[in-house]
Symmetry: C2
Subunit: 343 residues, 2 copies
């Protein structure tokens, strides 16, 4: 038997005792050590982002493999690992691939479930089963706590996979919460000049440590004029919308230069109000959504130690206190669910 | 003296007698022969698309050069011409270029005015002055009536300059009015499989003649399931939003496949209601605005005679009846203001 924190309806989480699962040959079982609370978890918990419930949340996690479905994978047992969250034809090593996996777009697999988000129980749980193709073994340089950042860092890296950034591009990051901060670090490492925008002085101070070269401490509305001043009236080459709110896109449209790009990262599930797309047409603006990214490259970055992710962790909660953890994450840095230690 | 139809406030047009202008050395004066009514004119006339007034509308036009500001350009006199609508450092042949003209992005010139749209009187007028760099001499194969389509055809071509299309891509065109029909023709010529979507059977019949290989005759909402059926559940590779309404974007987000692209063409000035951008993030969708395009390529296409633009003309009005022409254009094909003939 093991414990799992189940979201049964919006804002209602119960701790369930569950039977250990029987694995299919293409699955492994992971004993969860640490799991992070993400903005998506907050939106799923509140019900703003609607998915089928009941569901065990948690898609940023690290752990240790305790069981494998096939003896072919027995060398994985005992390994410190993280796992990708899109369960696809490829991660299950199916022979019959869907039209997206066929093209290498397994994160968009037509049959996919998503760990802790779409129809697949996640890591706010003592145990989580995942397809074997999703597993990445951690190098010794990365601690299990730091490894929780592999998934969000991969998502930050993906931003600039789909929105190419040139050296010295001015990249405005709207909202420097957990994800916006990681995106600032990635943009900086790609040679961009990062301008962080937030109402929180504290978050902006942190963003500076993660690569922001300039900061604008104001509301979204007031930031428009300030950014124009910084960019000689032109606007940003790229605006990353990572506010976690529905209002960010309208501000981004004002902040970006003609022929510039807005990178959308927010998955709050809310409807954006009052967006005037005539400006996007007149200024020939590109708006590019992006989601999950390359785990191997995120692991390489964490291994290099150049992004101080440990400093993003503000607090830890035991599994029984998942609800408190999610509430705390609303106004904090990265909150962890700690299944390794008594906290 | 010459006559111009001036939009003095929304829905109020007066015919003014004006003095002939004195030209600067970098300008030419065109006697307007034909001008087309565009969706943008309709939105400007109604006040949905707000710009400084009073203004002479009209940005799709052909005519004959009757005066030049510099004897260096005297060979232009008497020539049949069209003119680009973005007045930029480059079109005025300034030596001191703004930061956009410097990069070749003169359609986004920091100092630009736009003929018939932004702070510059347009072609619903007997005479229009334009910067000499905007003028394109027409080849004899193109009639002055057909030449009215150079500007909108260039805009249609621009769609796929910013949204590359691959052979056999499924391109859904949402709204096959004047512009959507031209876009269908361009997409077809680039090797795409064009699926036209409209509530009007008549417009869909026309779209077939312009290159649509399939049509969906339904509301935006109902078209989603029908397009899924046509595309084996995948969705379109590219969705062109050319409805001229604020609602099209939400439908486009439902119609496009993961990692697909939405090309925005509507400049109705209205705010898009209820757009849920979480889907754009999850499905990693690109939304690309585009506006004015390359006149030289549009002229080449018209010269080839492969797009039957003449069949798009539904009616002609004299200058004094501009208001009637705009009202008629709401529910018609291309309506012309005819300054050549008594109509």
């Amino acid at each position: 038997m093991y414990k799992a924190a189940v979201l049964v309806s919006p804002e209602e989480i119960t701790i369930e005792e569950r039977q250990e699962p029987r694995l299919d040959p293409n699955e492994v079982l992971i004993k969860v050590k640490f799991a992070g609370v993400c903005g998506t978890d907050i939106a799923l918990f509140s019900g703003e982002y609607k998915v089928p419930l009941p569901l065990v949340l948690g898609h940023e996690f690290s752990g240790e493999v305790v069981e494998v479905g096939s003896t072919l994978e027995k060398e994985l047992i005992g390994k410190r690992v993280v796992a990708e969250i899109n369960n696809s034809c490829l991660s299950y090593r199916n022979k019959d691939l869907c039209r997206f996996c066929e093209r290498g777009l397994s994160n968009h697999c037509a049959r996919r479930t998503v760990v802790g988000i779409v129809s697949y129980d996640g890591a706010f749980s003592e145990l989580v089963r995942v397809p074997v193709g999703s597993v990445h073994v951690l190098p010794p340089e990365i601690s299990l706590k730091e490894a929780v950042f592999v998934e969000p860092l991969a998502a930050a890296i993906q931003t600039f996979e789909l929105v190419p950034v040139n050296k010295d591009d001015k990249v405005a990051v709207l909202g420097v919460g957990r994800l916006g901060t990681l995106i600032s670090a990635v943009a900086n490492s790609l040679g961009a000049r990062v301008i962080a925008i937030s109402r929180s002085k504290q978050k902006l101070e942190r963003a500076k440590k993660f690569g922001a070269s300039e900061v604008i401490n104001s509301s979204l509305e007031d930031s428009v004029q300030k950014l124009k001043d910084i960019t000689n009236g032109v606007g940003a080459d790229i605006v990353v919308e990572a506010t976690g709110t529905a209002e960010g896109l309208s501000a981004a449209l004002e902040l970006v230069r003609p022929r510039g790009t807005i990178a959308l990262k927010t998955t709050c599930g809310l409807v954006s109000p009052s967006v005037n797309f005539t400006k996007a047409v007149v200024d020939e603006i590109r708006v590019q959504g992006s989601r999950c990214g390359p785990f191997d490259r995120a692991i390489e970055r964490l291994k290099s130690g150049t992004i101080p992710v440990g400093s993003l962790i503000s607090d830890s909660y035991p599994l029984e206190k998942v609800k408190d953890a999610i509430v705390a994450a609303n106004s904090a840095s990265k909150v962890l669910i700690d299944l390794e230690n008594q906290v």
